[in-house]
Amino acid sequence: MTTDDDATLVRRCLRGEDEAIHLLVGRFQTEVFGLCVRLLNHRHDAEDVTQEVFLRVFRSLRRWDCQRPLKPWIMGIAVNRCRTWLTQRTRRPELVNYLQDTLPGPAADDSTELLQEIQCALGELRLEYRTAFVLFHEQGQPYEEIAQVMGRPVGTIKTWLHRARLEILERLRRRGMVPADNEEHPTAPLPKNGREES
C-alpha cells in the first residue's frame, strides 16, 4: 500500500478508501506542518492551519491535474492558507519554541544561539522570502518545484532566496554571530544584492 504513487493514492482517496486518506495525510503532513510552523511562527496555529490545508486538499482533490506532481500542489495550498491566516491574525505572532524539535539538548558551543538567531531572522523576512528560504533550505525542494508551489517564475524564486539569505547574513553579522574580521569598518553592512525580480 505505501508503494502507491500519488495518482493511484489520489484515485483511492476519491473512491472513498479511508486507508488511502490516512496514507496521503501521513505522506505529506511533515512537510506541510513544518512549512506552516516556519511561516506562522506559532506551533498551535500551524496545527490548525495544517488541518485546514488537508481539508481543502481533499475537498478539491478532483481538481488536481494528475499530469503534475502532487506535492507542489499541496504545498501551494499550504502557502495560500498561511498567507490568509497571517492576514486574518490580529494578535502579535508568538515565537515558537521550535528548538525543542531541532536540538536534543544544550550544546557546548553557540549553536543554540545561532539557531535562535537564524529563526528570528527568518521570522523578520517577508513571507515570500521566508517561504522560498524554508522550502529550499529546510525541505530541500529544487527551484522549479518552489516555483510551482509559489506560482512564480524560477528567476523570481532565485531572487527572493538570494535576498532572504543576504538579510539573514546581515542579521547574523549585526548580532555578532560572525567572527569579527573587519576591524576598520565594524558596523559596515553587508553588500546588497542589486538584482531585480524577474
Binding site: D18, I21, Q29, T30, F33, A46, D101
Partner: protein, 231 residues
C-alpha cells in the same frame, strides 16, 4: 574578480554547489566585506545543517484523517440534501406547470357546459422506500441512495401538490352555465309518439275492414243444435 562575482559564488555555495575558486580566495584576501560575507555564509551553512524541520505531534495524522473523513461525510450528506431538494423543487415546478397547462386546455370545454372539470392525476410514482445509510460509501451506492431519496421526496411532493390542487379546484367557483328555456325545447319522444300515431291512423281502416269481415263470416255460419251423438 570583483565583489559581485564573489557574491554570486557565495550564493552558489549556499545553493549546494561546492566552490573551489583560487580567484575567490584571492579576492577574499583583499576584500574585508566579502570576507565577512563569506564567514557569515559559513555560519549560516553551519546553522542550517543543525536546523531540522519541526515534527508534528505523534497522533497528528490520525486526527487530520478523522477530521477529513468527518468533513467528507458532512459534505456528502449536504450534497445529497441539496440534490434532493433541487429535484423535488424541479418536480414540483414541473407538476405545477403541467397542471396549469391542463387547466388552460380544459377551460373552453368547461365554459361550453358539456363536461365537468377533471382533476389531473399525477403520473404514478415509485413507492417510497426507506433510505438506509450505506455500509461502504462508494460512489455507486451514494448515487443509488441519492436516487432513492429523490424518488421519495418527489413522491411526497407530488402527493402534496395533487392534494393542494384538489383543494384549489374545489375552491374555484363553478362556471355559470347559460340559462336555457327547457319548455321551448322539443321533447325527444314527441316525434316517436307522432310516428306511432300516424301508423295507427293508417292501420285503422284495415283493422275495421277485418273486424267487419270476421263479423259477416260468423253470421253466415249455420247454427249448431247440439252435440254429435256417440261422442
Amino acid at each position: 574578480m570583483n565583489c559581485q562575482a564573489s557574491h554570486n559564488l557565495l550564493q552558489q555555495r549556499l545553493d549546494g554547489t561546492p566552490i573551489e575558486s583560487p580567484e575567490l580566495l584571492e579576492h577574499l584576501r583583499g576584500c574585508a566585506d566579502c570576507r565577512t560575507l563569506e564567514q557569515a555564509t559559513r555560519r549560516l551553512q553551519d546553522g542550517l545543517r543543525r536546523l531540522t524541520p519541526p515534527l508534528p505531534p505523534p497522533d497528528f495524522a490520525a486526527r487530520i484523517a478523522d477530521r477529513v473523513l468527518l468533513d467528507r461525510r458532512r459534505t456528502r450528506r449536504r450534497a445529497k440534501r441539496r440534490w434532493a431538494v433541487t429535484l423535488a423543487l424541479a418536480a414540483g415546478l414541473f407538476i405545477a406547470l403541467g397542471l396549469r397547462l391542463d387547466w388552460r386546455g380544459q377551460s373552453p370545454t368547461r365554459e361550453s357546459g358539456t363536461s365537468e372539470p377533471e382533476v389531473t392525476q399525477a403520473p404514478p410514482l415509485p413507492k417510497e422506500t426507506p433510505v438506509l445509510p450505506p455500509a461502504s460509501p462508494t460512489l455507486r451506492e451514494s448515487v443509488a441512495e441519492a436516487s432513492e431519496a429523490v424518488a421519495s421526496l418527489t413522491s411526497k411532493t407530488a402527493d402534496e401538490t395533487v392534494s393542494s390542487t384538489r383543494w384549489l379546484v374545489r375552491e374555484v367557483p363553478r362556471p355559470s352555465l347559460p340559462k336555457v328555456d327547457l319548455e321551448s325545447i322539443e321533447s325527444p319522444t314527441r316525434p316517436l309518439r307522432e310516428a306511432g300515431q300516424g301508423v295507427s291512423d293508417g292501420l285503422e281502416p284495415v283493422t275495421n275492414s277485418a273486424r267487419r269481415a270476421v263479423g259477416l263470416f260468423l253470421r253466415e255460419l249455420p247454427p249448431m243444435d247440439g252435440e254429435p251423438k256417440g261422442l
